[in-house]
Symmetry: D2
Subunit: 344 residues, 4 copies
């Protein structure tokens, strides 16, 4: 297979490279850049010296037409314009941005404050939450790869919502993310001295991942309620922990919740149900495509606390994108994704 | 004034020292240790060289009797035994542990898994949440200084509960703390390599601060419901952010919430209401006795997100203890506590 | 006293404010900005809410003429133009930049790659290494406050060089700094994800502090040799550790080195000689004006390893500037600078 | 191949597992523990759930005899006793501790303060600095895998010493390490709050890696001089940067140094010579077996500054051990070691 990465110089692009480089079915990786073409990739990113020494290529139709699959890892508003130009019958595209995720274009424009991608492309895009949409992904030409927060939240909540075990109204989701989630462009919020040794909150109930989560809850679990959603920055490079709070439906026990998760996920290689609270942390999945899920039920309040952790750059971006590529091409889903977590 | 610190070698004790050293009304600080008496304090803590070079003293009744006020900053279960032995009419004691906070001794024993302090001492102890209990604190001989999480949670929620603006049932509190909250005893959870660059969750709905929060909600706001309460460890030395979620009572607006906070706190020197979400982080209060509070209301869900940040070792421990001492001795409440935050 | 800060919004300016706010002899602090005048300071820096709520003022001659002392905490190349315009007989200026430190204007232009300040102002400026230049500082109108690296290096090496105990040739200095040393302007090197969990080296033998160190070695110890000087970035907000390596002069022992340090510094309140290697770290001086010095002598090689630690923003900038102000105005040298280190 | 790891629960052991798990020539990995046998590995280390779920085995001769190669990753003083009991003709042992590195047993006992391994085993052990000792490693039964600091120091200095380009006397090495270097046992120095946001120095000229470095300088470059060697702890999990200072031999230029490095290393897959100072940091090699080397020459002093960075747990421990295993078994040297750095 010949694969291309558009936007290889971002954090998501670098992670695509990290996994694709050792992927057994990839013959060649082509790197594209709109602004830095001609530059040797390992001059810019010296950690790749001797590994990825090739130059960045210009984004040109002829170069793209030779590829089997293209990953677009670009800021919001870029691939909505680019993909309609390059998508053809025989090229598959996996878009890591939010541009093709929101089916309702008004919602996209409201939350992203950008013009939406054209409706026909929105219509044909398939939401790439692998564990919930494999059948569609197999046939897809255009994948809207899920956002980092939605991946963590949905993987943990969807089984419980789908099986009617928790109240879909009054869902409260408190998410914590490492700093890489906001990309590699320097600004005051990611200045080391201002991010280090501090926890901050941002975009309370205003994060553009909210409509994505709500849409997927409706799509996969037929639940249609607004969520309460907070996002926090914690001083670490990678990792998301989503702590969700939900009222149990009447008569539902902790075992019912665990059973639901095991039923859904026991044959899914990247989802792990963790029993021991003290083993639930973002370091458990660092650098990998795993999502760890943990459940607590408080008898005093009849409420469940549901925790999931992912690496935002892997299961929350590049790893899931490659998992989707594997599904699209009929490969073993874990191909190229079997790294062991770098726990410390 | 002559003050004593029992447990000066812990993180709380060190912070007491840091503030008391420059307190204008303190003549002498006496340091006591059960196990390290005779050792020069600045040999153990070299950062205090030239500042606190005196030896640690043995804990002996005669030495204690000469003091005006004693701070006990000891692990759970220590001051419950020690304070009944030393408390007399003419000595005031401020206990930074949880031993005298819980009025219901069964609750203490259930949540702390330790024998309670004797009931008469529990009865006479005054809960030292300064902004809510000044009148009682003025007359007190024994202060149960609030826990770090309860301080952050209660200061932000009590006005809204008291004024019946939010639903006291279904309160959900998601708290994040720096690593110092668990003290200075080395263990796997606070090993640098295991805490660094990772977020963890612990004691879900089982933290011993839960009955303290619920008791204070009943005491100060006459609300009596169990809370959902999660605690997270984030890789920073200091700081607590408590993110609380509550349903608004019917007809209540964001302005009502802000009005309630301003009414309660505008004459309280250490509480600041922050309008701008992007200025809400634990670094804003680092090293100081401030509590910053921020409110968000989501029209879509009718729910409020209420954030408060403190330095767990200051407003959540030593700073509030000194604030209480100032109130007990009729001093200006801010005496010795006017440091500027070390923002970075 | 009426003091002004030009450049109050930088990290150095914020530290000046932190100390001056509680300085007993300061009546009012005036804050100046060339680009943000009119803005309320605590709107920009919310951690100062209720403390420093005044607006930033325009830099205008009339406003400056009313002041007793002005601190300029501006990037290289700014105060070289500004100070000649505002310096008069009755105003004292303490410049925290490098613009007035280098007596040889060619050297300044070579190392800073900027035009030098006018020679007459260079000539009248006094190098503010307090412990070595008090007599001159007392009479000065214009202080060139030392750089952060030079402060750490010179305080530890000057006594030994002055007393001819170490070989002034072949001095090797390996310095490590926290990220705040490079200021608050966001760039790739101080992006949290790129600085975190990594150690980097920069400006090897090319740092603009090299001529400053060499000039002071000649001025105070009559030694005139080029140094080898490396600077490293370590993932922490504050702190400098300078590890220096020197050959002992013949017959010189470790005791001789210690004696030299004690002779010079025992009556200097901010210098501490530390015996125990395990107590030598930047955290020992965090947030304070202390410089800790430690000596090791290796019998196998006849070489001394000399370590000093400071807080780069305090003893390496704002703290030493205030110490100099105290000397200039005949105040107790420690006034306003008696904070206890925030060890953790 | 059947491989065994004794000491799998330490940081070095976990890294061995991380690489061996995806090593194409390994059939099975056996995990041994003296104290925790019977425990499921992934119960202890949940990040390995679904990957390494097997139980820890007791260390018993029969179990060990079936293996092709054993890695011992144990504290100093353990393998010196264990290996003589298990080493036979048909088992190869790679010891990651310092127990078999020092040929002079008196030196071992002086620097390690422990009894040495038996002389016959010391004699037959081969020092596993792969790039310098391949021929011997190919035939070895017992590898003394190099220490983390020696690996970083020697790889950068040996070519220059061997080619007589730098003065072997007066070598000064200033090394900085992440906290994992000291292992996973909790103590005050690795408590998060005390290590975080601080740089410390330790074991000045007393580190047990000093005789190892000096022995290898004699062995591979025929240079026999004592070194000056300082080790620093910086707040990061992994990584070593060694900054070395040496006088150039007369007439030697920077190009000569670079030429020497390129001559030696251009066909060595894990050594990279980096030209650009701004690309030299421990993050460049994080998680990988690379050693990056950078050279600076200061015309003013005639001195070279030589920097090398490695991941202390990989090239400085587990990675180099596997590289040695590959050499011993005639495999491609990079087998199992082709991971891309996790730069951020």
């Amino acid at each position: 297979m010949q694969v291309g990465i558009i936007g290889a110089t971002g954090y998501g692009g670098l992670e695509l490279l990290r996994f694709l480089y050792n992927h057994s079915e990839i013959e060649k990786i082509h790197l594209f850049s709109s602004s830095e073409d001609g530059i040797s990739f390992s001059n810019k990113y010296t950690h790749l010296r001797r590994l990825i020494d090739q130059p960045l290529q210009k984004i040109e139709p002829e170069a793209l037409q030779k590829l089997d699959v293209i990953f677009t890892s670009t800021p919001s508003g870029v691939s909505s314009k680019l993909i309609p130009e390059v998508l053809t019958e025989h090229i598959k595209v996996i878009d890591l941005s939010g541009d093709f995720r929101i089916k309702n274009t008004e919602d996209y424009e409201k939350w992203y404050k950008l013009p939406s991608a054209p409706q026909p492309f929105i219509d044909k895009s398939i939401y790439g939450l692998t564990e919930w949409n494999r059948k569609e992904i197999e046939k897809a030409n255009l994948i809207a790869n899920p956002g980092c927060y939605p991946t963590a939240v949905l993987l943990s909540l969807l089984p419980l919502l789908h099986d009617d075990l928790i109240d879909s109204e009054n869902l409260i989701i408190d998410a914590k993310s490492g700093i890489s989630g906001a990309g590699n462009k320097p600004n005051a919020n990611n200045h080391f001295c201002e991010a280090n040794d501090s926890t901050a909150i941002y975009k309370i109930n205003q994060h553009q991942h909210i409509p994505e989560i709500e849409q997927a809850m409706a799509m996969f679990a037929h639940k249609d309620s607004p969520i309460t959603f907070s996002t926090h920055l914690v001083p670490m490079n990678r990792g998301i922990m989503a702590t969700s709070y939900a009222k149990l439906k009447e008569g539902v026990s902790k075992d019912d919740l665990l059973q639901s998760l095991h039923n859904k996920y026991d044959r899914n290689p990247f989802i792990r149900i963790i029993e021991n609270t003290s083993k639930v942390s973002t370091s458990q999945v660092r650098g990998t495509n795993y999502c760890d899920i943990h459940i607590n039920v408080d008898e005093r309040t009849g409420r469940a606390t549901i925790i999931s952790v992912i690496d935002n750059l892997v299961k929350g971006a590049a790893g899931q994108a490659i998992q989707n590529m594997n599904v699209m091409f009929g490969l073993e889903e874990t191909t190229g994704l079997t790294q062991i977590p770098i726990w410390i």
